[in-house]
Symmetry: C2
Subunit: 93 residues, 2 copies
DNA sequence: TCAATATATTCCATATAAAGCATATTTACG
DNA sequence: CGTAAATATGCTTTATATGGAATATATTGA
């Protein structure tokens, strides 16, 4: 049910969709949070440059939350996963 | 499977656990990312003050990702949900 | 308990996010 | 098409995150 965000770019559209599903304009949402319309716009356009704090504020207003989840499928750090050989057990979640 | 983050404070411990499950010290993780041990410490201690950008970087290194999900259970904005009466349908996810 | 390692904290300089304002651009609709 | 609402963008100022160094504190293990 959660929308996975692997790159920061993916977040903007999600936020926008969420907001619109709530029938809110940027100005309206902003008002609820004491933020300007411009600010909301920027948050939706470049969420990567947003402080977690502020992102959270917006998400709360939209009845959403963040989740930290294990990364799906194919990707592995090219520089060598190596997940601590001798240490604790296997699964890292 | 994802760990829900409803307040920014909850994120720190999650990050720390994740890192440790990977058998990495703050210094080691930092090195992988070109960041100092001190920085990692700060990120784990006050993740709210971190840019999404940077959080993402850390999560990637730990094979994790973010998800945006509908908020669980009881919470509703006290100022009235009202989810756009006349507009599009019902469910807002 | 002592030493080694890991983590936290303070201070300072610099980069950049946040906020406000004006205005441009786009979108929705008569 | 014309007009109004919604959204985006450039600019300036201010607040704050980032980064580095030094150092304190805590944790772990012999």
């Amino acid at each position: 049910m959660g929308t996975p965000i692997t790159t920061t770019g993916q977040l903007g559209p999600v936020l926008q969709r969420l907001r619109r599903n709530h029938g809110l304009s940027q100005a309206a949402l902003g008002q609820k949070l004491g933020l300007s319309q411009e600010r909301i716009s920027r948050i939706e356009r470049s969420p990567e440059k947003v402080t977690l704090d502020q992102l959270m504020t917006v998400l709360m207003a939209l009845n959403a939350e963040l989740q930290v989840a294990p990364r799906e499928a194919g990707s592995q750090s090219a520089t060598g996963p190596k997940a601590a050989p001798g240490k604790r057990s296997g699964e890292d979640w």
